[in-house]
Structure formats: structure tokens, C-alpha cells
């Protein structure tokens, strides 16, 4: 069966409602902080046992696609990234919402996500085997330098002061060292607590640093009555917005696809790198972080493009590169289907149905996104004395739900208070998150490289050299620009 014929299978009322229903559910799961794509899919997994394989898989794929996009809602409206890949979205999405442009921000995220998602699926259909080969070439040395490359985004997320940015990243890296060291079995900074053995969880920290810190700031610093900020009615994209979407689309989706393919890297790192790229290639980098549409586009396009990318190692090699992919693998296994090169020859119909369904799922984002772009911002019309406790409650519930752990609620509260003061000191929460995500990736892979063959491959492997060059460009380019600006000013 060809891909074309597969669309006939997908375009039935049943299939379409499963995909659209799945993605609606995904958006809700993604938008609620603490609930992840993985959780939503794991809960739906037993339901798929009793469906034909194509139906179950397509519903799960819809859910996955929706969840990656859904994080944008809470990131834009409440400054709480609903899921890790949306952290970068909140940097510009929330300031935009504060200006009253929440609807426009959601529309931007919708168009960016849909286009990125489509690009990801097309890459999956056309060059999956090549991408899979590429992913296998990434060993510990390559991941080490990829982490360094990701860290070069420090310039983009630091705001005005680079020194404070470094302080934030360092703090994040330090926090990431807490827990059992996987190489020596030594517990680091755990004070004998089993909770801390598996490290400080990243999501409660995000919820605290972004969400709760903002609630505290609102309580202490703004007027006591009225609403937090008003949403302007319009949510349509202007012509210049669309131009920005089209300009940002290509680099962001390329980054999303390539990074999404790498097991363990995924949407979060894709959106960091894409955001960084957007800042550095912009003529007005200072606008990022204050509500630049380009920031939302870069982040959302890249993280949804990574959905197609994440399917590459799963379908071509049977290797699940992420937790959601592992659940998809489980759903396939139940039906006696083992992904891998063999599945392409034995079940071409199913593979094509998956491709077609995944493509349709991207379009479902367009529908849900535009349908809610006008309604969702209305939540901001709720009076602040109701809204702020509600957000605080959401922060508590979200951080608890992740692992059913009150310890995580504690982590969230501490991060929230700390985040408020750090913000006052000019340390942006994004820098801490950067260190927290990339710190372990750098440390674990560097030490693994050294265990295998010493430090040399980090500098000699071809992929590493390319990544070093890219890192150098990302760091030197803004420095040169700053120097040039100073020159201009002095002249």
C-alpha cells in the first residue's frame, strides 16, 4: 500500500476522531504542569490493547503531538512551561501575554508547531534510514560537545548581564550534580535521603522558578485589585507575523529534526538550540526575552519538528529514543508488531498509516490552536485574587502529580522563592534551567568518553569538530557584535 492509499484508511470518521481526540487530550495533558506526554500515553496504553493496532497507535501519536504543543498554553498564559520543551516558549510568550497579546502568541505557537510538525513527519517519511545512521554515529564524545553547543545558548538567555547568566548556569549545573553518581555509586549532596538519590527533578524546579516566582512577584509588586493583565481581543496574525513564521521555519525545523533524532536529546534541547540560533541570527537580539514573536516561533517549531525526528530511531531501528517512544513501542508489541527494518517490509500498510496519521495529527494542532486562541486568553479576565491562588495551587498539584511526591512540592516551593529573589538580582530562570538540563548530559558523556578511550575523541571526531565550530560561532558572533556596537557608540 502506498502512502497515498494510506490516507484513505486514515480519512474515516473513526480514525480522524481518534487522532483529533487524542491530540485534544494531549494538549490538555501538555498544558497542565506536571502531567507529561509520557504519563498521558501510559494511562491510555491499556485502552489501546483492545483496538486494532493502527487505531491505537494513531490515537497515541495524536496524544504525543498534542502534548508537545500543549505546553505552550501554560507557558504563554501563566508563565509555567507545561512540559519541558516549552521552557523556551515562555521566555517570549509570557511577556507577550503581559502586553495583552496572549491570543497572538498562541496563534504564533500554533502555526509554528504545525509547520514544524509537518516538516518533521516529511523528514521521517523521506530520509528516515539516513537519519537513523546519523543518530548511531552519536557516541558519548559527540553528546559531550552537543551539550557544550547547547550551553552556548547562555548568551541568548542571559538578558542584559552575561556574568549573571553564567552565575545562573553554574547554579543549575551545581543542582544537577545532586544525587547518586552513576560512575562511582557515591551519593552526592543527598544527606542520606532516598528522595535525593535520584537527583533534583527538573520539572518541579521549572514550575517553581517560572510559575510560583511569578505569583510571588505579582502578589508583592503590583496593584491589589483588578486582573493580572488584560488580553487584547485580536488573535489574528498580521502579515509581518506570517513573514516571521516563514523566515524562522526552516532553521528551526531543521534543528528540531536533527536533534529530535538523537536518543535522549529530544524536543527540549532542540528548542534551546533553535532559540539560540534565532537570537544570534536576528538583527535585534535585544528584543528576545521581552516578547519577540521570533522566540515563540523558534521554540515551538523546533520542538514539534522533533516529534517526527523521535519516531526515526523507533521505526527504523526499534530503538525508543524517548519515554513517549518507549510507550509507542509497547503499544506495537502488544499487537505482535516489532518496529525495525523488518516492519517496513512485512507491514508496509501499517507504516504508511502511521506516516499519514502523524501528518493528520499535525493539522489537528491547527484546528485546536486557532479554535482556542481566542477563548484561552479569557482565563486572564479572572480577578487576580482568584487567579493567583489558583495558579499557586496548580503549581503545587503539578509538582506533586509528577511522582506523587511531596518532596517535589518542597523542591517547587524552594525554587519558587529562590526564583523570585534571583529574578530581582537579574539572574534569569532560563539560565538555571539550561544548566540543569545540560549539566548532567555534559558530565555523564564526558566521563563515559574518558572511561572508553580518554578525552581525545572529544576533539578529534568529525561530528565533534563541526559542533565545536558551531559553538565558536555562537559565542564569538555576539561578542563581535557587542564590540562593534561599542565602537559605533564611541565614534
Amino acid at each position: 500500500m502506498t502512502l497515498f492509499a494510506a490516507f484513505e484508511t486514515v480519512f474515516t470518521l473513526r480514525m480522524i476522531s481518534l487522532i483529533f481526540g487524542g491530540s485534544a487530550l494531549g494538549i490538555i495533558v501538555g498544558a497542565l504542569p506536571g502531567l507529561s506526554a509520557t504519563m498521558g500515553m501510559a494511562l491510555m496504553l491499556p485502552v489501546t490493547f483492545y483496538m486494532p493496532p493502527s487505531e491505537g497507535i494513531l490515537m497515541l501519536l495524536g496524544l504525543y503531538t498534542g502534548a508537545v504543543f500543549g505546553g505552550a498554553y501554560s507557558a504563554i498564559l501563566l508563565n509555567i512551561p507545561g512540559a519541558p520543551p516549552s521552557v523556551m516558549t515562555s521566555l517570549d510568550g509570557y511577556p507577550m501575554a503581559q502586553r495583552g497579546e496572549a491570543g497572538r502568541a498562541i496563534s504564533l505557537a500554533t502555526v509554528g508547531s504545525t509547520l514544524g510538525g509537518i516538516a518533521g513527519v516529511i523528514a521521517l517519511i523521506i530520509i528516515a534510514p539516513i537519519l537513523a545512521r546519523f543518530a548511531l554515529r552519536f557516541g558519548p564524545a559527540e553528546y559531550t560537545v552537543l551539550a557544550v553547543f547547547g550551553l552556548s545558548a547562555i548568551v541568548a538567555v542571559s538578558g542584559k548581564s552575561l556574568a549573571r547568566g553564567f552565575a545562573g548556569v553554574t547554579l543549575g549545573v551545581l543542582l544537577s550534580t545532586v544525587g547518586m553518581d552513576h560512575f562511582t555509586n557515591v551519593s552526592r549532596f543527598t544527606f542520606g535521603s532516598i528522595e535525593l538519590m535520584s537527583g533534583i527533578n527538573f520539572i518541579p524546579v521549572v514550575i517553581g522558578l517560572f510559575g510560583l516566582a511569578e505569583v510571588i512577584a505579582q502578589i508583592l509588586e503590583t496593584a491589589k485589585e483588578g486582573v493580572i493583565y488584560k488580553a487584547v481581543r485580536h488573535f489574528f496574525l498580521s502579515k509581518s507575523d506570517l513573514v516571521k513564521v516563514i523566515k524562522g521555519f526552516l532553521p528551526a525545523s531543521l534543528i528540531g529534526i536533527v536533534i529530535g533524532v538523537l536518543p535522549g536529546a529530544g524536543g527540549t534541547i532542540a528548542s534551546i538550540i533553535s532559540y539560540n540560533q534565532a537570537v544570534q541570527s536576528s538583527k535585534e537580539p535585544e528584543k528576545f526575552g521581552t516578547g519577540a514573536p521570533e522566540g515563540i516561533i523558534a521554540s515551538e517549531t523546533a520542538n514539534n519538528a522533533s516529534v517526527g525526528g523521535a519516531m526515526v530511531p523507533l521505526l527504523t531501528l526499534g530503538v525508543p529514543g524517548s519515554s513517549p517512544a518507549a510507550i509507542l513501542l509497547g503499544a506495537l508489541l502488544i499487537h505482535n508488531l516489532r518496529p525495525g527494518p523488518i516492519l517496513f517490509t512485512t507491514q508496509p500498510a501499517l507504516i504508511n498509516t502511521i506516516f499519514a496519521g502523524l501528518l493528520v495529527a499535525q493539522f489537528s494542532l491547527l484546528l485546536w490552536g486557532f479554535a482556542t486562541a481566542k477563548i484561552a486568553p479569557r482565563i486572564l479576565a479572572v480577578r487576580r485574587e482568584v487567579m493567583l491562588p489558583a495558579i499557586a495551587l496548580l503549581c503545587v498539584v503539578g509538582s506533586f502529580a509528577l511522582k506523587n511526591s511531596f518532596f517535589d512540592v518542597g523542591i517547587m516551593l524552594v525554587s519558587g522563592v529562590a526564583g523570585f529573589f534571583l529574578n530581582k538580582l537579574g539572574v534569569k530562570p532560563g539560565t538555571i534551567i539550561l544548566g540543569l538540563i545540560l549539566g548532567p548530559m555534559f558530565e555523564n558523556n564526558l566521563r563515559s568518553t574518558i572511561e572508553i578511550s580518554g578525552i581525545l575523541p572529544v576533539f578529534t571526531s568529525p561530528i565533534c569538530i563541526v559542533l565545536w565550530v558551531l559553538t565558536a560561532i555562537m559565542i564569538l558572533y555576539p561578542l563581535c557584535r557587542m564590540l562593534r556596537l561599542k565602537k559605533c557608540e564611541s565614534e
Binding site: G40, L136, F183, I327, I342, K403, N444, E451, I452
Partner: protein
């Protein structure tokens, strides 16, 4: 959804407090059973448990509510299960870490602090090399390692993990030394590293390596079970090839110590029936995992022996630590 489940759990707990004295055990189970998983949602233990529980609840006649309590490779969940009311309404699953934690100073309890309901699954260790690797058999590989100590690189998970212990058991028995590359993410990444040529070999269960093996990227040298794994009749065991190395990572279901025998038996029957269900069989066979249905007696005997094996091994590799 998770929150609602938590609410349900809370209600169940309240109900337990009020209902327990009058309900008696004759009607067990008359309310939902909570199943605690000590690993993250979407992980290996999580998926296998979800498939198993979806089947078991049909035979139990009550829903099974799954709660994830990840932390310390199951340690957090073990403690929580051991402290639950021993009425059969709180159970949870283990991996081999039930026999390592107490010897490494993580938590002071092992399987003896529980009633073992069933052993439902085992994944033996295995050794894998790249498709075009120079070693054709396990013997060639080991002899080469003897000649070049600390040179052949093998990916495995962190020290003290069952995967790593399987590899170290081979080292101890044959007096050889590999250059072991720790992987923070567990054994899952090993096969990809072998296929990409980053390491010479990896230690991983067939369930982990199956995809890349079937894709023709990697090749097995042997599995560490007593008999060949049903899903892979073509892969020889270490024992067949003359190496006395057996290492299993098994999963049990635990109930708190003091759970009445009838309740444990009821649970055993429900979970045994689940292991025989079509859905569970398909899932396990396709993933390349072994199904077991050992009852309490057999499981306890196995775990007691495993404790001895792991204790000795941990002492030999210098990870043994007396618990406080």
C-alpha cells in the same frame, strides 16, 4: 488524571481505615488494590506492570490502581510497600535491586521484609558485539580479553546494577578485566553504542538488544541464563559454551510482611492467570522477555540464593556496605 487517581487513592486509604476491622478477609478483594511501581512512568518496569495489571484485574474482580513512586532504583517503593497495612490492598513490584540495596547500604530491607506474591518475569544478561566484530564466539572474545586486559571496551550500566554485576561475574570467574564504560541511562544505550562502533561490546538483556540484533547491527555472544531464552532459541547460553556465568534480573510482586496466606494466594492466582493471558504473552514474546510464574515458596527460595550470590559478588567488586 494522575490527580484524580491520587484522590481515589486517598479515598481508598480512608476506606481502609474504617472498613478493615469489619470487612474480614473472606470477601477479599472488596475494593481496588494499589500497585506501587518504584520506577518512572514509561520505563521497563512500568510498561510490563501495566500490561500485567490490566489482565490481572479481570481475574481479581477489582481494579488495580497503579501508582508510580520512582526513587533510588526502587528503594523508595520498597520502603513504602513494607510499611503498608498487610491486608493485600497494597502491593508493588521489584527488580533484582531487592537483593542489592541492602548489601550496598541503600536501605536496610530486602525480600525477607515482604511476602513475595509471584515471580513473573526474568531477563537474563547477555553479551553483544558489532555485526562485523572480529570475535566469532564467546571463547574468542574472552581469550582476547585475557591477552589484552583493560583494553576491550564494554558498555554497561552503573556500578551495583544487575547488568554491571553480570559482566563483573564473568570478570571474576575468568580472571579477566574489561574496560567498562558506565552509562548513566542504564543498559538501554549499550546496543546503540555497539552498533555505532563507540564501544567493542555491551552487556544487556536480550529484551534491550533485540531491535538492533534483528536489524542486523549487532550480534550476540551468549546469554547468561541456565537454558536458552524461548524467544531466541538460536542464541547459546554461557553455560553451553563452558562458562559458569548465570545472571538474571527478575521481577517479583511484593506484599507487606504479615499479609494473610489466603490473600497472597488469591493475588497469586490472579497474577498467574494474567501471565497466561494472550495479551501478556504477546507483549513479552515480542519484546523478547521471559515469563515466569513462580509461587511464594519458589520465589523466596530463589531470592534467598540470589541474596547470597549478590552479596559475595558485591564483596568481590568492593561495593559491599553494611547497612546502618
Amino acid at each position: 488524571m494522575k490527580f484524580r487517581r491520587s484522590c481515589v487513592l486517598l479515598l481508598v486509604l480512608c476506606a481502609a481505615v474504617f472498613a478493615a476491622p469489619t470487612a474480614g478477609y473472606a470477601a477479599y478483594p472488596d475494593r481496588p488494590v494499589t500497585y506501587i511501581i518504584g520506577w518512572e512512568t514509561g520505563g521497563g518496569s512500568d510498561l510490563v506492570s501495566r500490561v500485567l495489571c490490566a489482565e490481572a484485574e479481570k481475574h481479581l474482580g477489582q481494579p488495580i490502581v497503579i501508582v508510580n513512586r520512582p526513587g533510588g532504583s526502587g528503594a523508595k517503593a520498597y520502603v513504602e510497600i513494607s510499611q503498608a497495612r498487610p491486608d493485600g490492598y497494597t502491593v508493588g513490584n521489584t527488580t533484582g535491586t531487592i537483593s542489592t540495596h541492602k548489601f550496598m547500604g541503600v536501605i536496610p530491607i530486602g525480600h525477607e521484609a515482604f511476602e513475595v506474591v509471584i515471580t513473573f518475569n526474568s531477563d537474563p544478561g547477555g553479551l553483544w558485539v558489532k555485526k562485523d566484530a572480529p570475535w566469532k564466539t564467546l571463547e574468542e572474545f574472552i581469550e582476547d580479553a585475557r591477552k589484552r586486559p583493560d583494553e576491550i571496551t564494554v558498555a554497561a550500566s552503573n556500578p551495583g546494577s544487575i547488568t554491571r554485576l553480570g559482566l563483573q561475574l564473568l570478570e571474576v570467574k575468568e580472571s579477566i578485566k574489561f574496560r567498562i564504560a558506565s552509562q548513566a541511562g542504564g543498559e538501554a544505550r549499550g546496543p546503540s553504542l555497539v552498533a555505532g562502533g563507540h564501544v567493542d561490546a555491551c552487556q544487556a538483556a536480550p529484551v534491550t538488544a533485540k531491535s538492533l540484533y534483528e536489524a542486523g547491527e549487532i550480534r550476540p555472544l551468549g546469554v547468561q541464563s541456565e537454558v536458552r531464552v524461548e524467544a531466541f532459541p538460536e542464541i547459546p547460553t554461557f553455560m553451553e559454551q563452558g562458562y559458569d556465568v548465570v545472571m538474571h534480573n527478575t521481577r517479583q510482586i511484593l506484599a507487606p510482611k504479615g499479609t494473610p496466606k489466603e490473600v497472597v494466594d488469591t493475588l497469586y492466582r490472579a497474577f498467574k492467570a494474567a501471565t497466561e493471558s494472550e495479551t501478556f504473552k504477546k507483549f513479552m514474546n515480542e519484546s523478547g522477555s521471559m515469563i515466569l510464574d513462580w509461587d511464594q515458596e519458589k520465589s523466596t527460595k530463589f531470592l534467598t540464593e540470589q541474596d547470597e550470590q549478590f552479596k559475595t559478588l558485591l564483596q568481590q567488586v568492593g561495593l559491599f556496605k553494611e547497612t546502618k
